[in-house]
Symmetry: C2
Subunit: 361 residues, 2 copies
């Protein structure tokens, strides 16, 4: 067979697959409409978006994926298919921390797919307000950045908002070497946040062994300094390169590719159990020796693992500190429920912010 | 059957469909790998991205789509599936006019799907340079905006660049009523570009019959004016609302939902015939009475329809005007080829900028 004949054969096969894919995608959309009709006929309050069911499906897809596409990629395709099917019933309105083009918008689209309508807001408090008022179905806000630490404003909002956490999204963040220099040999100084420098240590040791490393308070500051000094480079994001007209001299120079930023999905309800869930809560106790240790003991007693703890000074004057705690497991699970009951007896404040599926993508 | 039983039945059906979809998507990705292997084995220059083939597939999908999803939505899902399969071989590097979050990035992702790597550049000339140098596989640049007219800088670049047009992308643009006012009754004045006011006339007649309409030079200027006047509103985009902290008082108020912006995909080669193509070219003639009419007669003689013509003053001093002309049909088609041959004899300048599939999505 000539190469053209072989190619035509494969292309015919692709055409057949495409026709079958189209049929199945449309059948899936019809099923989604059937679900809505059944609920409607039984007078149920129709809740189209089911985060726990979507998480289950995505996990199953990743598990069953035979390749050659990687698990993330097939899960992303299924996210888009589910997003399109959901939008048939009612396109979700998603508020996010703007401006457009930020990581938070990327997180919103990663979580809900591209068939939703996203709306940027200028402040985290605006997003809480819009979701509370029902103008948006859900909001997406940043909460944790492994380079810049916790986004405090989001945590503060939870102290006074009735909204719950319905999901989490993680995004991988990459570091690049940015400079105005035309060749890497000209670089004498590298600016960045301490943590970013640490995350790229191996690469910097190899590529720029003699350049001085200077820690500054943010990666954006580093980019600004590099923009004014032809012998300097910054370790920062692509966005910073653009903002300060720097060249990307080397891409993705982080030693471990696991640098992530975390976002939370906020809504009027949290999520039913999906099988792999987290629960977030706000806790507070008086500032006494051993108080925090005692406070957290119900988790240890139930064998529940804590995935994160952050302390924040309380703004309400009554307690000295408020702790944001994430644990593994859903609040409906017996062990988590028991720990929460114990906590409610012991803590000055115990506010469950919601249970939601662990990020799948 | 109870509603729960009915729902479980539909959900089981969805699970079966999902397993089948996963199998087919992965098989499709394997086929894409086979195509690469066959080409490799025959020592062919492997060109993975085939714009004409993608356009054919998307057109077929839209034609065969039985619903309930609309044609745009299924085509978008197939775009993503093709994008993921293509990225298995070699993820495309796409330069676009930044910053991130602009319509041009949206156009790049709409055309290539989300499995490519997009890189923002600050100027249209930078994108041409990076694609010419091979640092990017393709570039995406704005060329036409039905509200703001042609993007002249892009057209000027084509006069001196060897790059060709490999595709076009259109995006629908929506108009919103933006204001600092809390209710619509307070609005006495509406600012916007003349064309945007015209595009929303029906809505403005109904909702704001007594408000004065004031034409200004851009919609961004309108938003700025509205930001400083509590009795004013602007007709502008969501991005303008955000930039000037205006509230979106009414969404998508355009009378016809067909307001689009057009972008071009530039690359080292144009596209082979897909069945529904356009050809863009640069033409010039001396400024004499009837010259343009004579120049264009080969198109008329061959029955070729012209979809756009724009005149630009030439910067090269030799000709008075340069015309950018788009016609229906591929330059490999006999009628277009014949017209081009005739043009080459008659025009001072006849530079074919490329043939490419008409935008499908």
């Amino acid at each position: 067979m000539t190469s053209d004949e072989q190619l035509n054969q494969v292309r015919e096969r692709i055409n057949t697959i495409d026709a079958e894919l189209l049929r199945l995608i449309c059948e899936r959309a019809s099923c989604a409409q059937d679900v809505a009709k059944i609920k409607d006929a039984h007078g149920e309050a129709v809740k189209y978006y089911r985060p726990e069911r979507e998480a289950e499906i995505l996990r199953r897809i990743k598990l069953q994926n035979p390749g050659p596409l990687d698990g993330e990629e097939v899960a992303r395709l299924f996210r888009e298919i589910m997003s399109a099917c959901l939008a048939l019933e009612k396109p979700l309105e998603i508020g996010y921390l703007g401006p457009a083009g930020t990581f938070t918008q990327a997180a919103a689209l990663k979580h809900f797919g591209h068939s939703v309508h996203t709306q940027p807001f200028g402040a985290i408090s605006d997003i809480f307000r819009e979701v509370e008022a029902g103008a948006c179905d859900y909001g997406v806000v940043p909460v944790e950045n492994s380079t810049e630490g916790v986004v405090n404003h989001t945590l503060d909002m939870f102290m006074r908002s009735p909204l719950l956490i319905a999901g989490e999204v993680t995004l991988r963040i990459h570091h690049h070497l940015l400079s105005t220099a035309t060749e890497i040999g000209a670089i004498r100084r590298v600016y960045s946040h301490q943590q970013s420098l640490a995350q790229c240590r191996g690469w910097l040791d190899r590529a720029l062994p003699n350049a001085e490393r200077i820690a500054v308070s943010t990666n954006a500051d580093a980019a600004k300094l590099a923009a004014g000094d032809p012998q300097a480079a910054a370790v920062a994001s692509e966005a910073a390169a653009e903002l300060y007209s720097l060249r990307v001299m080397a891409q993705r120079i982080e030693d471990e590719p696991g640098n992530t930023t975390r976002f939370l999905v906020i809504g009027p309800e949290d999520s039913p159990p999906s099988g792999h869930d987290k629960t977030s809560m706000l806790l507070s106790c008086r500032n006494e020796a051993g108080a925090l240790h005692r406070l957290l003991s119900p988790f240890a007693n139930q064998g529940i693992s804590m995935t994160r703890i952050e302390s924040r000074p309380s703004r309400q004057g009554v307690w000295d500190y408020v702790f944001f705690v994430d644990v593994s497991g859903h609040r409906a699970a017996p062990d988590v429920a028991k720990a929460i009951t114990e906590l409610r007896g012991a803590a000055n404040l115990c506010k469950v912010l919601g249970s939601y599926p662990e990020a799948v993508l």
